[in-house]
Subunit: 356 residues, 2 copies
């Protein structure tokens, strides 16, 4: 199976093998050593010196943790959305009683830092500004550094909460240097690990907000998570097999080195985009904002995404991502984590046959 | 390693091997088939014809789901607690704004159904009554059937929310027949699967409550979970490797059959208790309420639980559970899931040498 959806992503053989290790005590020295090792590995790619908590949950659980640990009901929040996952981040804030102002962009467009700053100037202050670093529903990457600078400049006191689920570690995000207060990632993306763990960084400013944040929380209480993390444990029983996999995959990422990991994904992104253009197909994301982890392919009139995806699955054992933009004929191809040019070539060969 | 803590529990070799399968599409037919198979397997042991949702979370996440999907802030809740996990269930309800009345029993004692009924008669009505079926902190099993009957008789309209994390599938709980509205279990217990998934049943009465329950929820929204479960999917990316393991372990449990699984745990419980008594040590739980999944051993004056646990670990590679009852010298031994008499014999041999 050539699994090209944006998560779960295929795992390297040694990561798969690592999951067959027998269970260990989550309050014992072996786990504590692993938790320490994994946390260091994650922080390298988060580029943070601050706290990094590991939750047994999907990425959505990590987004919920970002919200409920820093905000109170009634807090004004600016949610910058460029697609499905930006909307989800906003919905979580609203579900917990935040007063959400949306700044939404058409599918395929990236957020404009100047417009974000203007929105803050006109309608602020906001307790927090949320945005998605890389939007898998449209294959759009926001320019996180510029967004952070614009937000910090317009709203020195606002928290910056970033959904980096499909970016870090493939696309660089400098958590501390860019002033991100909470950054969320998920194990099943470019980390080359299975789904089941979400990672959440907390800046000192985020911890200050935590002290007076009154949204209810228990399972996702990051104060509890930190209390245990300081002992290299977790409050509840962790997804042990996901930790085994993560330790193996982070060792591989560390051996490769961050610069090489980012460069590899830049190359894969460019390679995928060129392959799509060579087929005469379109790129859905606006130029200059095309993701290096997932490419959204625009089909030409008369082509059916559903039919092509079904044929890819049935005839070629290739699993692409369906459209997440209603009314748009789109196929999404992920190229993050354990993926090669050959995996993408196989998709292009199949697509060429199908659309000929 | 002879892992005798009450979760994570050791996994059979074929369950471990199942986790090395490559990732698949969580929106594709292979996952949908697995989700259907796993749900049927779980429902057999929950003894429910109603909905059974699978969450990517530890058991504590499942407890939170039980609360936030059925209750509103200010709702009066009776929390029957016989230990640490009963207290946790109550804390979750309080964290989300329920008005919690506690009925607490001394560590080692079980809940008295008549007292629960009397409490409801005197201080009710309560929107929900919570209790723990099997309390791992003390090795106490509550008589769930009698508790459910007492609650239902005293409070026909109350919801009954049951923490069955360390009971089902080892200790029988008849979800539908006993009128349990929400029952929560966790993958890492007698299911012989790794941590990372929690299972939550919902009765029709629980769904009625869901319609007007106003506690905030997003990740643990069971209405969303049901909407996707009806398509054999999950709202967010599921812990795929845990599903692979669960499918394998549920096949084993199905092959053994529920009656045999319950009988096996009855036997292991009795075997462990006899072994403890043969060593001249005590049983912490009150007679008639001793758990068939975990035994709490009372040490005699002068014996240090911490020292014995350290020696078990260092000299025998046996990992026992520490005390969860402050001031009590106690060792806890789990005997649920993939465990044999020989595993327990090894502990008794070691304990005999250490306490001689």
């Amino acid at each position: 199976m050539n699994l090209r959806i944006p998560g779960p992503t295929p795992l390297p053989p040694d990561v798969l093998a690592a999951m067959s290790q027998q269970m260990i005590d989550h309050r014992g020295p072996e786990f504590e050593a692993m938790m320490g090792e994994v946390t260091v590995g994650l922080k390298t790619f988060f580029e943070t010196q601050h706290d990094l908590l590991i939750l047994t949950a999907s990425g959505t659980g990590g987004l919920e943790a970002a919200i409920v640990n820093t905000l109170s009901p009634g807090d004004r929040v600016l949610a910058v959305s460029v697609g499905v996952f930006g909307n989800r981040f906003a919905e979580i804030a609203a579900a917990y009683g935040a007063s959400v102002t949306k700044l939404s962009y058409p599918m395929g467009q990236a957020a404009d830092p100047d417009e974000v700053a203007a929105k803050i100037a006109q309608e602020g202050p906001f307790a927090a500004v949320l945005f998605t670093h890389n939007e898998t529903s449209t294959g759009v990457s926001n320019v996180a550094e510029a967004l952070c600078r614009a937000i910090r400049s317009a709203a020195p006191e606002s928290l910056i909460l970033v959904d980096a689920i499909s970016s870090v570690p493939a696309i660089r995000l400098q958590t501390d240097a860019w002033g991100c207060d909470v950054v969320v990632a998920g194990s099943q993306k470019a980390w080359m690990a299975p789904p089941g763990a979400s990672f959440v960084s907390m800046s000192p400013r985020a911890w200050e907000a935590y002290e007076h944040a009154r949204m209810p929380r228990f399972y996702f209480d990051l104060g509890q998570a930190k209390k245990y993390a300081d002992q290299r444990q977790t409050p509840a029983t962790p997804a042990m097999s996901v930790f085994f996999a993560l330790r193996a995959s982070l060792n591989k990422l560390a051996a490769e080195g961050p610069e090489a990991v980012w460069a590899r994904h830049e190359h894969l992104g460019a390679y995928c985009r060129q392959g799509v253009l060579d087929l005469g197909l379109g790129l859905f994301a606006a130029e200059g904002h095309r993701s290096n982890t997932v490419t959204a392919i625009s089909l030409t009139p008369g082509q059916s995404a559903a039919k092509i995806l079904a044929a890819l699955r049935e005839r070629y054992d290739i699993i692409g991502g369906a459209t997440r933009a209603p009314g748009v004929e789109m196929i999404r191809l992920a190229h993050m984590g354990y993926v090669s040019e050959a995996d993408l070539d196989a998709v292009f060969v199949a697509l060429r046959e199908l659309i000929a």
